[in-house]
Amino acid sequence: MKNNYSRLKWVALIIIGGILFFLSKTATAATATPLPLQQEISGVVQDQNGLPIPGVTVTVKNTNRGTVTNLDGEYSISAPANGTLVFSYIGFKTVEIPVENNEEISIQLEEDVSALGEVKINAGYYNITQRERTGNISRVTAEEIELQPVVSPIQALQGRMAGVEVTSGGSHPGMAPTIKIRGTNSLREEGNYPLYIIDGVPINSTPVESSSLMSSSGIDPLNNLDVSNIESIEVLKDADATAIYGSRGANGVVLITTKQGRAMGTGLETRIYTGVASVPNRLELLNTEEYLEVRRTAFENDGVEPTESNAFDLLLWDQDRYTDWQDFLFGGTSETTNANITFKGGNENTSFRLGSSYFSQGTVYPGDFDYQKVTGNLNLNHRSKNDKFILALSVNYGVDVNNLVGNVSFNSSISFLPPNAPAIFNEDGSLHWDEWGEAGLDNPFAGYFNRSTTNTNNLISNIGLSYKLLPGLEFKSSLGYTYYNSRELRKQPRRSYNPSDAIYHRSSHLTAIRDSWIIEPQLNYNKSFKDLNLNFLIGATFQENNDFSERFQGDGYASESLIGNIGAAENITNAIRENTEYRYAAIFSRIGLNWDSKYYLNFTGRRDGSSRFGPNNRFANFGAVGTAWIFSEEKFIKKIFPFLSFGKLRGSYGTTGNDQIGDYGYLDAYEATIGPGGLYPTGLANPNYSWEVNKKLEGGLELGIIKDRIRLGTSYYRNRSSNQLVGYPLPHITGFTSVQANLPATVENRGLELEFNSLNIKTESIRWESSINLTIPENELISYPDIEQSSYANTYRVGSPLNISLLYDYTGLDPETGFYSIRDVNDDGSYDYQDRLIVRDQNREYYGGINNNLSFKNFSLQFLWEFVKQDGRLTSFAAGTASNSTELILSELQGESPYQQISQSIASQTAYNRVLNTTFPIRDASYIRLKTLSLSYQFPGNLLKNTGIRNAQFFLHGQNLLTITNYDGMDPERPGFGLGNLRTITGGLEINF
């Protein structure tokens, strides 16, 4: 069978290639028609500040002849003496100038505020303007993200889009951030990734697993992209925009477009920045004196005699020693450097952009750990002379290496070590064991000399070909190929561990490879019948993904220097090799109609097939309808609201799906056991399960006031995700605990999104623009038949959001013991899930961002505030045991505090652990954060004259500079999780030749 398909693949490729080759031949063979008397005209196009504008389209009116300006804003074109030149460029007013025998025509273009509505937005299979779109698509552009010193482009979206919630993965470079578009749709954590598409190629958005420190959230598969090479990121949110992605659109779609070469001539762009990052916050922990007093009080309160085994910190350890463990653990600064160089150029028909970048980032931890990446990218565009044939090639390649400590956890528990705890290292740098051992403890840095190195390679390539068959009819095809390879080696030398434990030199090896290809042929047809405009698109997708991973461990190396040299290992164990193949096919179509550019109606449909489902359920249909009314075009509206420059009402409804579940769930299969030579069944098979279906409803209103200087967009959405794919719980007697199946459970996400833009000041030298986005999301599990019988019984509640905690009822301090007490609801003498009846929503109440762009002469300032309203939990307020706590509990020494009596008893720890699951520690964890701030200075043009430099600027950039919050933990963005975002300050220079 397999042979058949690879043959089919080649046949398809050859046929498509052949047709396109043939078409391009006919394209170039087309001859020019004889022209009337021509003359050469040249000139320069500048903006109001006198800076050249490259890439301005210059055409001769009523012909199909045209050119674009080069990097110096210069052009030359031949035109009839009585003709007219048309200068157009996005964001500027189009100008028409009659030739009138002039040989030089130089002009200044005027910025057009209202033309921003004409910005082309990438909607995936087609482009659309902001003005005409019926769906909900948010967009950020290069200017907003290119200076951010982040590894993953997703991280750069934080706070910039309504309806898009991004949480950083942690403080290690390269950890995958979490992105949620309009809330949590699936009951399964792993079923909530959006679809990532880079230059038309879908990328598996599941984080790549790792056995290093990053294992908690995994490695972001987008790490190897160069953030500064991204032209725009569009996020598709509603049914109208996502239904064309059918079964994969349920969680939204993230489209990343890389920069294109556009202008004529050649140019060189260079940029470099460097800076430092550190952990911006510390917990207020007790010092040695305070800590020891708390400990002594604990023993006094309990009436327990301190002994060497229960009070080693009081009796064995130095009473005067003090270590600030937070400083020790994460007090370092990490250095960040980024350098870019891009070569671009082109002529009328062909343009290219060839770039390369280097990025490095250290860590704040003790030791030599860092992340480095090198990327290369090429974009090539070719257009035949008669404009019929277009080729666009995009290649992104990245290599990175992540050096991290192996499997020791640099977690917050180290921060809470007693402040008089012994040293971690001996003077010679080895791990110190004696004093820890005397106290019956292991050195908390056991494992410190383990080194994990992860090398990844990532290739994302796409060729787009299109040919205009007839006026209005275009054939397009894109062919994409991706290859991702990650190799991780973890070395575990014996000196990482207590010498009395018989542990060998050991190594762990993990290789993961993902590759995929995609072919998407499509036909596009545009036709106008008087006032009716028709746009028709039909296409197909064929995609195959192959994932492969291989891991094994070696041990018994004779010396540390041999670790990892697998041939020198005595044993190779735990070898696992896995591969999955995923195939996906679809037909899709979109019909767009508009009447007089006022009334819009779109139909989108897709029929999808995915190999993830059993043979009986592989195919399903998805579709959406979207509509818009630009009411500001109506005469009566113009009359009543003359200040209204733009007004649009839009709405959409449709279905999308989610096929993000493990592959092969329908196979009754055996796998290799961990022990050698064995096979065993690893799960129950169900050949009948199918897609999750997400029904999306949306309504929106967009307004532009005072020539669009103030723009407002609001939308209300309601997404219902049903037919939830879950592990259907089974009794253990069946051999396993669940089987993959669909349940009629429904999750609803609804909310309000608001985007506001205002051009506050605009004069010759000053410009100030603000934008605000706000999201008020709500999430609810609407139905789940027999949830009590399911394994989700103690996780979810019908009628509540998915992200809840189920809490005990806190009943105050027990007057007898002085400890926290909770209510035993069912009076059965034990505290379990039956007593956890208080439901607490842990979702963000609302969130958003406020962005400001200011420019004054050659200076410009941009800053973004991110704000979030949410709850978090107070942690580390236990007092009396052999670990440090926050200064909050000092009040208990005076006897007056809401906290329990200081104690080291097991009963007090039990009470503490229980109170963590009540409303008692819940605090407001809302915050406002200065997410990014950049200041730049553009060197004046006259300074640069005769230097060969076209443009030069100096900039400073800050990330997470300031956080305003009442929350006591480390980072309110990840309440309770320990370290979060680093504060980064960078400075750099950009010079373009």
């Binding site: 591969n579 299969a669 064995g678 007697i733």
Partner: protein, 468 residues
């Protein structure tokens, strides 16, 4: 124009061709790391691997792996041989106090892991039945082994929970609502499986390792089953079969050597290799041995009363029991290796051994009134332990006194092995008498563990044992 229409036609035809192939396109072959069940049993090599897989998984299945939630440990707590050093783990304390709540996750682990192994045996038996590509010889061998393991799993379950659902297929739609089968019927199936296994299997050790079962393993378990059912004749017959296989098995003089890999006393052992081989110690060794340097890792002690019942000269006291002066606790030291990565593997986890067969025969013969022969059997055990022989100190001992001595020897010989003490107290009806005197919370219904509550939530047809 005509020329251009051709393009459209070609394109459309191409599209139609591509679309029509969609259906087939999304069919994918099984990945390299997965093998469809039917394919596994088409081939002798892979069918044998499926059996090896079950043995491997026995080292990972919680009820059998000797770890914290194994029968050895949890039923050990239920009896009076071991206890927790600290009272921090409430779930293990519940076993020690015979106050297990139906939510106890250790209890669920025993239950679920045993049923998981049962699923594997059922899957293998079904696979063999539907297979055409395997020789009779291999089929017979594998069927015998699978039936044995299934019977072994049910034997343990039925002795922990009394009536239990009896599943002999892999069909989850049917199995998920099964109710409990009476104990006697479960026993019938166990005996049926074991008799078949004994018949199907040969007496040699496949691959010269005692980690696979043979006909004597089946006989040995049958002897135990009949002992529990108080069928003394059969208990004697089947234990004799094993004892008489002297070229296979013998009682080792040195107690230090009993728990070594492939020791001649072993009837069946589980190899730590099943855990992947990165570490090569047994879980019992790792969990029970108290290392003086790493004593903070210790959690389980032998009850002082157990150490006290040994005679001072008893070699088992010297060889199988350790004492940590830091924690001031006794600990089980049958296994000598707490932590190892070394090869060849020195110790395997013992499941069944010859000493138990002598104890079974002694008890059966005592009940049958054949006291002199019973004396001989019990003295085999006492002689190895280096303590006085009953035939010498009281050759005229009465039946009840002898039975008491046999029970005492069972306790001394088999502590921290597969819950023997707990099962013995229960089957002889002395659990209340012995444990009730030490434990004020004891109730007669405590002899059965509760059916896990999670299980009853998912299968409404499962009734609960009395007292929960």
């Amino acid at each position: 124009m005509k020329f251009k229409y051709n393009h459209i036609i070609v394109t459309l035809l191409l599209s139609v061709y591509l679309f029509s192939s969609c259906e087939d396109f999304v069919e994918v072959a099984a990945p390299e790391n997965k093998m469809v069940r039917d394919v596994v049993f088409e081939n002798e090599g892979t069918a044998k691997s499926a059996m090896t897989g079950i043995y491997n998984e026995l080292f990972r299945a919680e009820f059998s792996n000797g770890q914290r939630n194994s029968i050895t440990i949890l039923s050990g707590f239920s009896g009076d041989n071991i206890s927790n050093i600290y009272d921090t783990n409430i779930e293990r304390i519940q076993f020690e106090q015979n106050e297990i709540i139906p939510d106890n996750s250790g209890n669920l682990s025993i239950w679920s892991s045993a049923y998981n192994i049962i699923y594997m045996t059922n899957s293998l038996l079904e696979g063999l039945e539907n297979s055409g590509g395997i020789s009779e010889q291999v089929k017979t061998q594998l069927e015998g082994e699978a039936r044995f393991i299934r019977a072994f799993s049910y034997f343990n379950l039925v002795n922990l929970y009394s009536d239990i659902p009896l599943l002999l297929t892999t069909d989850y739609e049917e199995n998920q609502l099964l109710s409990r089968t009476p104990m006697s019927e479960v026993y019938e199936e166990i005996i049926n499986d074991l008799l078949l296994a004994e018949e199907l299997l040969g007496g040699e050790f496949p691959e010269n390792e005692r980690t696979r079962v043979n006909s004597y393993t089946a006989s040995a378990l049958l002897a135990r089953v009949y002992l529990y059912l108080e069928d003394w004749d059969n208990a004697e017959t089947f234990s004799s079969k094993v004892i008489e296989a002297t070229s296979n098995y013998e009682i080792l003089n040195d107690p230090e050597e009993v728990f070594l890999a492939n020791s001649k006393e072993a009837i069946w052992q589980i190899s730590p290799l099943g855990g992947g081989g990165l570490s090569t110690h047994t879980n019992e060794g790792n969990l029970l041995i108290v290392d003086p340097v790493l004593s903070f890792l210790a959690g389980i002690e032998l009850e002082e009363e157990l150490a006290a019942i040994f005679d001072q000269e008893d070699k088992r006291l010297a060889n199988w029991i350790g004492y940590d002066s830091g924690l001031e606790v006794f600990f089980a030291h049958k296994y000598k290796i707490r932590n190892s990565n070394d090869y060849p593997i020195e110790e395997y986890s013992m499941v069944m051994r010859l000493a138990e067969q002598y104890l079974i025969r002694a008890e059966a013969r005592a009940h049958l009134g054949d006291l002199p022969e019973a004396l001989q059997d019990i003295d085999v055990i006492r002689e190895r332990a280096g303590i006085s022989l009953i035939s010498e100190i009281s050759p005229e001992i009465g039946q009840q006194a002898l039975l008491d001595i046999i029970m005492l020897e069972r306790r001394k010989e088999l502590f921290t092995e597969w819950g023997h003490r707990w099962f013995d107290l229960k089957r002889t009806g002395r659990a209340g008498e012995v444990l009730g005197s030490q434990n004020p919370l004891w109730e007669a219904t405590d002899i059965w563990y509760p059916i896990p509550s999670e299980e009853r939530m998912r299968n409404p047809n499962l009734s609960q044992n009395e007292g929960y």
